[in-house]
Symmetry: C2
Subunit: 371 residues, 2 copies
């Protein structure tokens, strides 16, 4: 018997192939050739080793639970069928914008980017998280706008509404700090091609993170968390909205898929620590697990800013494939979405039909309550 | 106003920077500088664009649902606290084995690999999916063993039991085809350092996949799906078990994390299509989303085999980082696991405390039923 395993260790990833020392120093009971149906030496054990030792096995008893194996029970309420979108193939524009302390400049700049994306054929344009203000707890109260009070009180979203209407495109307007009563939110507005505000997503999971020496930030110092997931039907399909840290919670993406979303848009501003480690990974995971499109849009990197964003706005397809991405500089990504790919991948890998509703269930609490 | 967006498209990823044509051809209503609080022209709209149009917004009404924001409700039953493992730092060995049609050779070969890994310090050794048999529906009935009938009827697991006992290590024994009554399963046995069978995981999600021209396989033609998730307490911590396609179902990993697993082991044999696309992605996603270790072990690639495995056995840390991996050749990976990293990452990113049990809940059906 010849063995030539490649020996790897994490301290020195490839040590090189080595002839197994077990050949040199045989352990008789393990290395002797035995007849095919050998019986292991059990003289030192007082019981059949093949009996379970239930004291430490956490597995719940399944003796009385013949598998019902009903995938439709894996989502509560049951998952909605994928709706037929008004158009199945279109261009998306991701505007990775530079953001400054000059709000008026940010608005004019954002508008020009949207206009350029539309000119290049985008029917859906996505902006970054907090594109009208520096990303800081100091800035949020100063730059916040009262969106519900209408365009006078919210020049940033007024611009988005006008741009959507005049360009006849759908806009997922990144996010801006929103003031509502005595509360502040991190809020994404979605405008349809007629300029109407179709949905307003307030970041559900606030970015409270503490990696000493790397990145510490507590949005909860100034912001309040949103109360509801957001899925909206637009002229370019059913879109779920998450903002940045929302992407870390797989349940939200699962819930959007179960509500029939074709696409999840995550305006986001990952940082220089978690960006390289997790940004693309999380996007691809949400797409491949839920078999839908994922689009992200980040601010361009400003190394002189208080918060340095990773950039790397990206479009991911329903097979987890990176369809288009960029580095950290200001950029407009134009890429094609083809919803027929969702059907194709769900046929290739029929995950939805293979789920084990007899073992696990994801409950969409608000949809359950409203039915 | 100067614009210099980098224009990207999916057909030609980097087209090069371009001065925005919108400067050359201004669209007056969009590009005119306006006073800061400008009011958009709404002469063509008959209503306030900032009013929601409820007809197409799928968002459930949240008016009467002030956020309870109770993370402990996000898991039903509530997530268990991470238990203190018997040892917190140890070496794991992943034996990426060549597998042949000669079962006796596979057993001897597997035993030698386990012995080599133990010699190199591994306290936990993981084997590949279907390591004693070719991976094919034709082979499964021929190579299947009756594990419950004891060592005489199961030479493959008898070897694992003996190796675990003599080497004083824990073994996650990859998987073998199992015969039980008139049914066949794809089954992973876990042996503790005393040689006792601690858990037996039957693949819950069968590998039924159809990517025409690439890979088509239907395990369900011969195999029956397992009935229960498997979490087992061993001398090297609490381990959740999944087999290959099980990794695609994020709910299983979430459920294991909620049951207090430190580590999820996935013996697996991804193929040449989904391997390069998804194997590492899925492992890293399960680890980073659930903030625990993930270890995978695959067969070495046999290009002459009926089913060509991707290889790439890997250890992933709780920050989604690849700690050790290999290519497709036969190899033994030895790498260190340090469970204190789980606590660290859960302190950095306290996802468990940030979940929104008021919006979504993952129900562990069997654990719910057994309580």
């Amino acid at each position: 018997m010849r063995l030539g395993f490649l020996f790897l260790s994490s301290s020195s990833p490839v040590v090189g192939s080595s002839i197994s020392r077990s050949i040199v120093r045989p352990a008789p009971s393990l290395l002797l050739h035995r007849p095919f149906h050998f019986i292991p030496n059990r003289t030192t054990t007082d019981s059949n080793p093949f009996q379970f030792s239930p004291r430490t096995t956490l597995t719940a008893s399944a003796s009385s639970m013949a598998s019902t194996f009903k995938p439709e029970q894996a989502r509560v309420p049951p998952a909605l069928q994928l709706p037929s979108p008004p158009i199945t193939k279109f261009k998306i524009g991701l505007c990775q914008l530079s953001v400054t302390a000059d709000k008026e400049r940010n608005i004019v700049h954002g508008r020009a980017a949207i206009e350029e994306a539309a000119e290049k054929g985008a029917k859906l344009v996505v902006l970054p998280e907090i594109w009208n203000s520096p990303y800081s707890n100091d800035s949020f109260p100063i730059y916040a706008e009262d969106i519900d009070a209408g365009p006078d009180a919210s020049p940033s979203t007024a611009m988005l509404s006008e741009a959507a209407r005049l360009l006849k495109i759908t806009i997922v307007g990144g996010s801006i700090p929103e003031r509502s009563g005595d509360k502040l939110y991190n809020t994404c507005c979605v405008f349809d091609a007629d300029g109407k505000l179709k949905a307003k997503h307030r970041k559900i999971h606030l970015f409270d993170i503490d990696i000493p020496g790397k990145i510490t930030f507590k949005e909860s110092q100034t912001l309040t968390a949103g109360e509801t997931p957001t899925v909206v039907d637009t002229e370019v399909g059913r879109i779920g909205i998450g903002i940045c840290y929302d992407i870390r919670f797989q349940e939200l993406a699962m819930l959007y898929a179960a509500r029939g979303a074709h696409l999840i848009c995550y305006p986001g501003a990952f940082n220089m620590t978690t960006g390289p480690l997790h940004w693309e990974l999380l996007q691809r995971a949400r797409a491949v697990d839920n078999q839908l499109y994922v689009a992200t849009c980040a601010p361009a990197r400003d190394v002189d800013g208080g918060y340095v964003a990773w950039g790397h706005s990206t479009l991911i397809g329903p097979f987890g494939e990176v369809l288009a991405t960029t580095e950290h500089d200001e950029a407009i990504i134009i890429s094609e979405i083809d919803y027929s790919q969702i059907e194709l991948r769900r046929t290739n890998l029929p995950l939805e039909k293979q789920r084990r509703g007899d073992l696990y269930q994801l409950v969409d609490v608000q949809r359950s309550s409203s039915q």
